[in-house]
């Protein structure tokens, strides 16, 4: 199959965009002409040294060739005659001149006369011997096509006036005329209505005429004979041509479909589709061989070899013929079904990047297949390979399922292909005469040197990071051509490694084929290989097996970024022409799932690229050029960030963005022109960036800035969340500030426009999106300028709310910084398993049952509210409530709370999601900054527009606790040990005191228990104790408390303010306290005393639970 693909002629671009013409001369040379005014004569499709004839000075509209004689109809008003047997100077003469562009030309069978016509509406027949001219008048529109009758009596013409005419050459009069053609009078787009290409059969008895979606056959008096339509074209037929023996008729439609009809059976016997589904503008039969040359609207030509296989047809026995007929009937009855699949993915697909020849085999749909006999598998074209590919009849309703591919790889062309092209560099596979080689080159020339490897295995998959090159090959059985005989193999080479460049390779078990590979760089680099057994095999960069696990369906593609691995696989049959895929994003370091989600694709499209943005946001691109990014908001949803096909104007219609990466605001791609869907290896492609544009629908005046805001926000949110705020150095903070300012700029632009159009409500809505207090001032100024003090007032109230929430945020931050101290000392002893970790604050996500990292510090708040909420109550709710109180102090009221754009789902599941993403848990341990990002940001920014008219003290937190981004490499660290949040807090002090005393006893009692189990046991025992016994321990705990207001349970309910005071006062001492690692009893007591208010107030909570 691969050989056949290689043997099939590729499309050859020779002329620029526009109608391209092709014909054969008498000796089988291919003659092409196009709108670039040049005629080429090729000896074969691969002829590199074509003759070039440049005598025409305008676009060539028609050519005809008989023997060595070539005539061209040129829009420079001239018809020229060439003699191809001559050398360089082959221009014989100018046959005739017209007033306007010449559109049609024809030679008679002997080449002794030439007919030409064009916009002049006059047809001129020139006898080439004496150059005598006969003019035929009577046409009422531009003549688009001419054809001599082989019997030398008639001339057929087809014009834009819609008339098909037969002229008697001798008299110059119209013999017959018929109104069957499209009447367009003037500028016609060949891509829509076709080329009016009519043709007489070699005997001159039948005239074939393209009429709409069918071919009609007329006799010499223009009497209708029959129609070739059955299961034929779906689009207007453009050109028809009889084979030289008259047994077959070829027809092409404007959608690039070519059919061959057999005259005897009046059935279609072969079908072919332009590899890129471009409009075919010209076809020609080879004078002797079974070949049809065709040329398309973009200046390419190629040849369809052996459209009809004679041997097969002749060998058929009558039974077989009957069988064929039956098949056809069956096919006909299926035709209705077929229409359903008209839009089947393959038809629209701009396919590319086939992994390997093996992938081509899996392609099995083809709506043309039914036209064929079962054994006539030669006619079927597999356009996915960009070349003619032939395979057997396939069941009609087969659901299209795309094969596995490597993102950003190209199919084999001229023995070369890119295995991958990404931000780091590219891997190029080259087949040379004797050897195959792999070239690895890096974009960053200052860091890496190019690598060249000898390719012993025929690698078809490649992946690249700055520290690792991975290659994989499918299994090979020895063939006549190559001696390769090995199973599927995985190869890797460390680059920039301390122990020189290490390489290793692994052979996979026979029968297990690698389908796709990906390389990531988490704490250590890893290689993931997906196989046809639906296994994902993970290896470290040095070949150590990390793991092997299963996925739920055949892999489509994989991509990796830092410690994240995205696997996209088929998971079910899709609906109609959709494929059903699922994406799994994994954290390889933590061996956890970040998310599982379905993959949205445009109807009928294919996935063509998958990867991560620079900052680690997963993204996909489908063959309809829609770019989608996976964001954590909306419970992990794909957001369309660009629809390039919609954005492209007429001039760039034939461009295609071959995506190699995604940055924050742009897609990084190689722009392919002229209908190509992948870049050629040479000349080296140039990377471009194209700005993204979210497809939003909004008021036209604010749409651009709203779009910018939304889009920037996706990436900025992700960036901010992916960094740990506390760890940010100055530059990062500056960067974030810079991004915030940018966001505000977009919003301010929208506000300004809204204010201009006097849409106050909208302006106020937008104001709430501002992040920086300074921006509010600008907004207020804008409002004042527009003379709307009411708006300005509301805006300033919104600003106050922002500042309030900012203060709140700071307060929480400090609180958060302080809070973790308690658990450290308290829990260390009962949880030896945790204390064995260097810093118990860093908690394994697996142990976090239901609370987010941000929960702990804010529990205090929850308690302050004496909330009897269940444990599932979200911290945010509580925080919000506490904020309610505070904002109410400002007597700020809201009439209507606008939709908070930033509000994220506040379900308990969200925090749960956030946990598993911590990558650097271990590395963060031991440091002394207990505050978490999540916490710091958690209670954070709540600001809202304020409607002072209403006194309802109601507020809604605008911005919810920010959950640390799951895609971030770094994750919030210093999580609190689980015991504190997940276990009931009721017994904290009492239980601990009791445990302290009784721990040894328990250990003695149950020596077989592990430390962890001891605690469990202790808990059980504690639970069995009577309340009196418990209170015994509870009292010493309370008695050790400070005489702070919080210590008295009775004063607790109204202790909000005092609590605040306490916190304020402690704010200053927090740092000192923190650094002072107290291990002594005093310290413990201290912690406990602070813990106490929680303890007591959690009581109802726990009992409720």
């Amino acid at each position: 199959m691969a050989e056949e693909a290689a043997a099939a002629p590729m499309l050859r671009p020779v002329h620029g965009d526009g109608v391209t013409l092709v014909t054969f001369d008498g000796s089988g040379n291919i003659v092409t002409a196009g709108e670039n005014a040049v005629v080429h004569v090729f000896k074969s499709t691969t002829d590199e040294d074509a003759r070039v004839i440049e005598d025409n000075t305008g676009p060539i509209a028609a050519i005809d060739c008989k023997g060595n004689k070539l005539v061209t109809a040129c829009e420079d008003h001239h018809v020229r005659l060439f003699d191809l047997s001559k050398g360089e100077e082959c221009l014989e003469s100018v046959v005739t001149r017209f007033q306007g562009p010449v559109k049609a030309v024809a030679l008679n069978n002997t080449g002794s006369a030439c007919a030409s016509a064009g916009m002049d509406m006059v047809i001129k027949i020139v006898t080439l011997v004496d150059m005598s001219v006969r003019e035929l008048h009577g046409s009422e529109g531009t003549v688009r096509s001419l054809c001599f009758d082989p019997q030398m009596e008639l001339l057929a013409s087809a014009g834009e006036d819609g008339y098909l005419r037969l002229w008697t050459i001798a008299t110059g009069k119209i013999a017959h005329e018929l109104y069957v053609l499209p009447n367009i009078r003037g500028g016609a787009d060949p891509a829509e209505i076709g080329m009016y290409g009519i043709d007489f059969d070699p005997k001159g008895n039948m005239l074939a005429v393209p009429v709409k979606n069918a071919v009609q056959i007329f006799d010499r008096s223009l009497e209708f004979m029959f129609i070739l339509k059955d299961l034929g074209h779906d689009a207007p037929v453009s050109v028809v041509k009889w084979s030289r023996d008259g047994r077959y008729l070829a027809s092409v439609s404007v959608d690039g479909q070519m059919l061959v009809w057999e005259l005897s059976s009046r059935q279609c016997v072969a079908s072919f589709r332009h590899p890129r589904r471009l409009c075919i503008t010209s076809i020609a039969w080879h004078p002797t061989e079974e070949e049809i040359a065709y040329a398309d609207l973009l200046g390419n030509f190629s040849v369809w070899r052996k459209p009809v296989r004679e041997s097969v047809k002749e060998k058929l026995t009558p039974e077989e013929v009957k069988q064929m007929e039956a098949d056809k009937k069956e096919a006909a009855s299926r035709a209705d079904v077929e229409t359903l699949f008209d839009d089947e993915p393959k038809q629209k697909i701009r396919l590319k990047r086939n992994n390997a020849p093996r992938n081509m085999i899996t392609d099995s749909d083809d709506d043309e297949d039914y036209l064929d006999e079962n054994d006539n598998d030669d006619f079927i074209v597999d356009d996915t390979a960009g070349a003619h590919q032939q395979h057997a009849y396939a069941p009609v309703a087969s659901q299209f399922v795309q094969p596995a591919f490597q993102p950003a790889s190209t199919p084999l062309e001229e023995s070369k292909r890119f295995l991958v092209w990404n931000d780091t560099g590219f891997i190029l596979s080259r087949e040379e005469e004797t050897t195959c080689a792999i070239d690895v080159e890096f974009h960053n020339a200052s860091k890496h040197r190019p690598i060249r490897l000898v390719d012993h295995f025929g690698f078809t998959m490649g992946a690249l990071t700055s520290s690792l090159v991975a290659l994989a090959a499918p299994s090979h059985a020895p063939t006549a051509e190559s001696q390769r005989d090995h199973p599927s193999v995985l190869f890797a080479r460390n680059i920039g490694h301390w122990s020189s460049d290490e390489t290793w390779q692994l052979f996979f078990p026979v029968g297990e084929e690698i389908e796709c590979i990906a390389v990531g760089s988490g704490e250590t680099s890893f290689i993931a290989a997906a196989t046809n057994k639906n296994y994902i095999r993970l290896y470290s960069n040095n070949g150590v097996v990390l793991d092997v696990f299963c996925i739920d369906g055949p892999v489509v593609t994989m991509a990796a970024h830092e410690n994240k691995l995205m696997i996209i696989h088929h998971s079910a049959a899709g609906v109609k022409s959709n494929q059903h895929m699922r994406a799994v994003v994994l954290d390889v370091d933590a061996k956890s799932v970040v998310c599982r989600t379905n993959v949205p694709l445009t109807d009928g499209s294919q996935l063509v690229w998958a990867g991560f943005s620079d900052t680690g946001l997963p993204a996909i691109v489908d063959s309809e050029e829609v770019v989608r990014a996976l964001v954590p908001s909306w419970g992990f949803s794909w957001i369309p960030v660009a629809e390039f096909k919609q954005l492209r104007d007429e001039k760039h219609k034939h461009e295609y963005y071959w995506v190699t990466g995604l940055s924050d605001n742009e897609i990084v791609c190689i722009i392919c022109r002229g209908g190509e869907t992948y870049p050629k290896v040479l000349p080296r492609p140039v990377v471009s960036t194209v700005p993204l544009q979210m497809p939003i629908v909004s008021a036209p005046e604010t749409a651009p800035s709203e779009e910018k805001f939304l889009r920037t926000k996706i990436f900025v949110d992700h960036l901010i969340e992916s960094e740990e705020l506390d760890e940010l150095d100055r530059a990062d903070r500056k960067l974030i500030q810079h991004h915030r300012r940018q966001l505000d700029q977009h919003v301010l632009a929208s506000i300004s426009r809204s204010v201009q159009s006097q849409r106050w409500g909208r302006a106020l809505d937008l104001t709430t999106r501002l992040l920086l207090p300074g921006s509010y001032d600008i907004a207020i100024k804008l409002a004042m300028k527009a003379k709307s003090p009411m708006l300005a007032e509301r805006m300033s109230l919104a600003k106050t709310a922002l500042q309030t929430s900012e203060r709140e945020r700071l307060r929480l931050k400090v609180q958060a910084a302080r809070a973790p101290r308690a658990p450290v000392t308290n829990v260390t002893s009962p949880l030896p398993s945790l204390s064995s970790v260097t810093a118990p604050r860093a908690r394994s996500p697996a142990n976090a049952p239901s609370f987010s990292p941000g929960t702990a510090p804010r529990t205090t708040h929850e308690l302050e509210m004496s909330s009897p909420a269940s444990t599932a109550a979200t911290p945010d709710k509580a925080a919000a409530r506490s904020r309610d109180k505070e904002t109410s102090k400002f007597a700020n009221a809201f009439q209507n709370v606008p939709l908070s754009p930033k509000k994220k789902p506040t379900s308990a599941s969200k925090p749960k999601l956030s946990n598993p993403f911590s990558k650097k848990r271990a590395s963060s341990s031991g440091t002394d900054a207990p505050a978490t990002t999540a916490t710091a940001d958690a209670g954070a920014k709540s600001s809202n527009p304020i409607d002072a008219l209403n006194d309802l003290a109601r507020t809604s937190p605008k911005k919810k606790a920010k959950v640390s981004s799951p895609f971030s490499a770094k994750a919030p660290r210093a999580l609190n040990p689980p015991a504190k949040q997940s276990k009931p807090k009721k017994p904290v002090s009492g239980y601990l005191l009791w445990l302290k005393e009784n721990r040894k006893d328990i250990i003695q009692q149950f020596p077989e228990l592990k430390p962890k189990e001891v605690v469990k046991k202790a808990g059980e025992i504690w639970r069995t104790l009577s309340p009196e016994e418990k209170s015994k321990y509870a009292r010493p705990a309370t008695s050790e408390k400070k005489p702070a207001p919080a210590s008295a349970p009775s004063s607790r309910s109204d202790s909000d303010d005092s609590d605040d005071d306490e916190e304020e006062s402690e704010k200053t001492s927090t740092t000192a306290n923190n650094k002072n690692t107290k291990e002594n009893a005093n310290g413990v007591e201290d912690e406990q005393s602070q813990q106490e208010p929680e303890t007591a107030s959690t009581a109802p909570l726990a009992s409720a639970a």
Binding site: D423, G425, F442, H443, N444, A445, S446, K447, V687, A731
Partner: protein, 179 residues
């Protein structure tokens, strides 16, 4: 009052032109650089980005980047411009700001990056010649009869080259006509 612009020398105009942004593709990785006027970066290998001309030149000299030649600096575009320029007797065709300086810098440091650089150089020279001739013949001829001359679409470099002379001449004519 002294006009600060009046003293501009061509070399200074070229200096100003070097602030114009131009797209490059760097082949190295670097963060953001803070310069007096602006911040540039981050640089990512094979990621096209805009930098000021002077930085592009300095990077190109060290083979750290490839300069993307502006669209107008191609044989096709320049030929059309030259045709237009020749067609119009009195007016000037709009050319990109500092086209003379930018093209000369590019021919200087990155002639390999400019396709058909020799041809482009000649075309630029031809355009400059046509325009200079126009300034001399057209623009300055009008001075005799009017108080002002209109020089639309004339670049800073061209104005610099005639400013002193033209101003003096205008003054002289004005004085004469007031006599």
């Amino acid at each position: 009052m002294e006009d600060p612009l009046g003293k501009l020398m061509p070399s200074e105009v070229e200096f100003i032109a070097e602030d114009a942004p131009i797209t490059i593709t760097p082949n190295f990785q670097a963060g953001v650089f803070l310069f007096l006027k602006e911040r540039v970066g981050p640089f990512k290998p094979q990621r096209p980005m805009e930098v000021p001309m002077w930085l592009a030149v300095s990077l190109r000299r060290r083979d750290k980047c490839v300069i993307h030649v502006p669209e107008w600096l191609s044989v096709d575009a320049l030929t059309t411009k030259l045709e237009e320029e020749k067609m119009q007797q009195k007016q000037f065709v709009h050319m990109p700001a500092h086209f003379q300086e930018i093209s000369s810098i590019l021919f200087d440091v990155a002639s390999q990056d400019v396709p058909n650089s020799e041809e482009c150089r000649q075309l630029i020279q031809a355009i400059v010649d046509v325009r200079t001739a126009k300034i001399r013949q057209g623009g300055l001829d009008d001075m005799k009869d009017s108080l002002a001359i209109q020089l639309n679409n004339v670049t800073q470099m061209e104005i610099t080259s005639i400013r002193q002379f033209a101003c003096h001449a205008m003054d002289a004519f004005n004085r004469l006509s007031s006599v």
